[in-house]
Symmetry: C2
Subunit: 101 residues, 2 copies
């Protein structure tokens, strides 16, 4: 089962190129528990191709106005469907009208 897709070998610089996301964003999504890179002995992050796809997916949802909180809940599938729909709608409205909290 252990494929190449889940082997953590990609540095944050390459990941940034692959996803188009800034390193800052990538590190922030980790802080928000959305990605879980491994580390080298020295402490540099290592990501997998699965993480590449995950980050692209996250980026899409962020663009739709969703918040990291909602994305995390969504992946855990623990949020009741009704509430999730409301949150997604709110996110899209926020995005559409560029609302600031």
């Amino acid at each position: 089962m252990s494929s190449y897709k889940d082997k953590k070998v990609i540095t944050i610089g390459v990941m940034s190129e692959l996803t188009g996301l800034s390193e800052r964003k990538i590190r922030y999504y980790e802080e928000r528990k959305l990605v879980f890179p491994e580390r080298t002995q020295g402490g540099t992050r290592k990501y997998s191709f699965d993480d590449v796809e995950r980050l692209i997916d996250i980026a899409d949802k962020m663009e739709d106005g969703m918040q990291t909180f909602d994305i995390r809940r969504m992946e855990q599938k623990k949020l009741p469907k009704k509430e999730l729909r409301e949150r997604m709608l709110r996110g899209q409205l926020n995005a559409a009208f560029n609302i600031r909290k």
Copy 2:
């Protein structure tokens, strides 16, 4: 067709861990035209999973006493079969008796 396997994303440090080869060896095999990493803007090497497999294969052949020259020829499949067999035999003999040129 462009799979993950041929995407150049692995740094030499990770490659060294993945293959068990020293960075010195990995760079040397590049010098001998056996692997062809890409480079980042800054000049650091990037390898693919295909390269991981290729290097492991190379390492096996080196252990059998083959020389980089023969390995390269072998991959190009341009060496006559008879001569190749002779070279492989010689390599294995060298390895067996630990002969120094």
